[in-house]
């Protein structure tokens, strides 16, 4: 059946871990937006949420770092980081949907890696914390936005298109979410820098779901917005999954205390 829901949101660990570092009004607006997003997700009655997410040295190292990895486990444990103030919990997986995604990818000429054991970090757990839906099955798809060489943004869009096709093929009600971005350069001497111009331009392209413009993002366009901005790959994958839908912005809060241009949007038919 068709995709039932698509959205994207930033996942900075400070959102839950050090919420007080943000301007209280900004924090309140972003937290409220996350709760509203959770309500909208629930209203779509999804059987499974496919999350395009980054991981942050929680699973993979330089001995073997995949461009894409589909989580195929029956359950996951997260978060890894105590600093998030999120109680560690068991997250339900969906091996059947993960396998269908993998099979469809391979048939389409795209070969992600897969894992039957992933540790979930803030990239997945911050959104799930606000969704308060412990019964919701999740298929995490890790996209390497961390350590070059990174998959091209165009390739991420193609991955998303395939997930959209899987939703059409599946009997299950599939929702997709992108987690990550926008501009940020955490852990570096310029942490707290937010490139609002980059964020606004990217949001314009995302909300229009303009595949041509989205696929044109490359390192020269992304690097000035911080290494974390490469997580827009996840947003572009979600745009590919819901390629005929258009976006609606729920929140944009540039929060220096969280070192992130925090954005949140839904894509709608």
């Amino acid at each position: 059946m068709p995709l039932v829901f698509a959205c994207a949101a930033s996942h900075a660990p400070g959102i839950t871990g050090w919420a007080g570092a943000a301007d209280p009004l900004q924090a309140s607006r972003y937290h409220d937006a996350y709760r509203r997003l959770g309500d909208m997700l629930k209203a779509s009655r999804p059987d499974v949420l496919v999350m395009f997410a980054a991981e942050h040295w929680s699973n993979f190292f330089l001995d073997n770092y995949p461009a894409f990895c589909v989580g195929r486990a029956a359950h996951y444990l997260g978060p890894l980081e105590k600093s998030l103030n999120i109680e560690q919990t068991r997250v339900v997986g969906d091996p059947q949907t993960a396998s269908l995604i993998l099979e469809t990818c391979f048939e389409s000429g795209l070969e992600p890696s897969f894992s039957d054991e992933l540790r979930l970090d803030h990239g997945v757990m911050v959104p799930l914390h606000f969704f308060s839906a412990p019964e919701l099955a999740v298929v995490p798809i890790i996209i390497n936005a961390l350590t070059p060489p990174l998959p091209t943004v165009r390739r991420c869009h193609a991955l998303g298109r395939i997930v959209g096709e899987v939703a059409e093929r599946s009997d299950k009600r599939i929702a997709v979410m992108a987690s990550g971005g926008l501009s940020h350069n955490p852990g570096t001497p310029t942490a707290g820098m937010i490139d609002q111009r980059f964020d606004q331009e990217f949001l314009r392209d995302f909300l229009a779901n303009d595949a041509q413009r989205l696929c044109a993002y490359d390192s020269s366009a992304i690097d000035p917005a911080g290494f974390g901005a490469h997580e827009i790959r996840n947003w572009v994958a979600a745009a590919g999954a819901a390629s005929n839908w258009r976006g609606r912005l729920l929140a944009y809060e540039p929060v220096p205390g969280w070192s992130t241009g925090c954005a949140m949007a839904v894509l709608e038919p």
Binding site: W18, W57, L80, S83, R119, P186, T188, F227
Partner: protein, 85 residues
């Protein structure tokens, strides 16, 4: 070349409880398990944040590592900014 080993050491303290425990109990002994240059070993054992960053430790490995060592966020960034200036 061995920034690979330096990062691997930090990655292991982040993802493996037994490595974290070993590091916290005996930093020098734990470091001996990895092929570090003298400069890397010194930066690691002295918790020289600016040096670790300059040597190539990824920012998202470095900050959890300094956090594990009880270094606050303001102290981490102050050291990073002074050490990388």
């Amino acid at each position: 070349m061995s920034a690979y080993e330096l990062q691997k050491l930090i990655f292991h303290t982040h993802t493996r409880a037994e490595c974290r425990a070993h590091y916290l109990e005996d930093r020098s002994g734990f470091a001996a398990r990895y092929e570090l240059s003298d400069e890397e070993r010194s930066a690691l054992l002295n918790l020289d944040i600016g040096a670790l960053y300059r040597l190539g430790v990824h920012p998202l490995l470095l900050r959890p590592f300094t956090d594990m060592n009880g270094i606050s966020s303001p102290a981490h960034y102050a050291a990073l900014r002074s050490g990388s200036a």
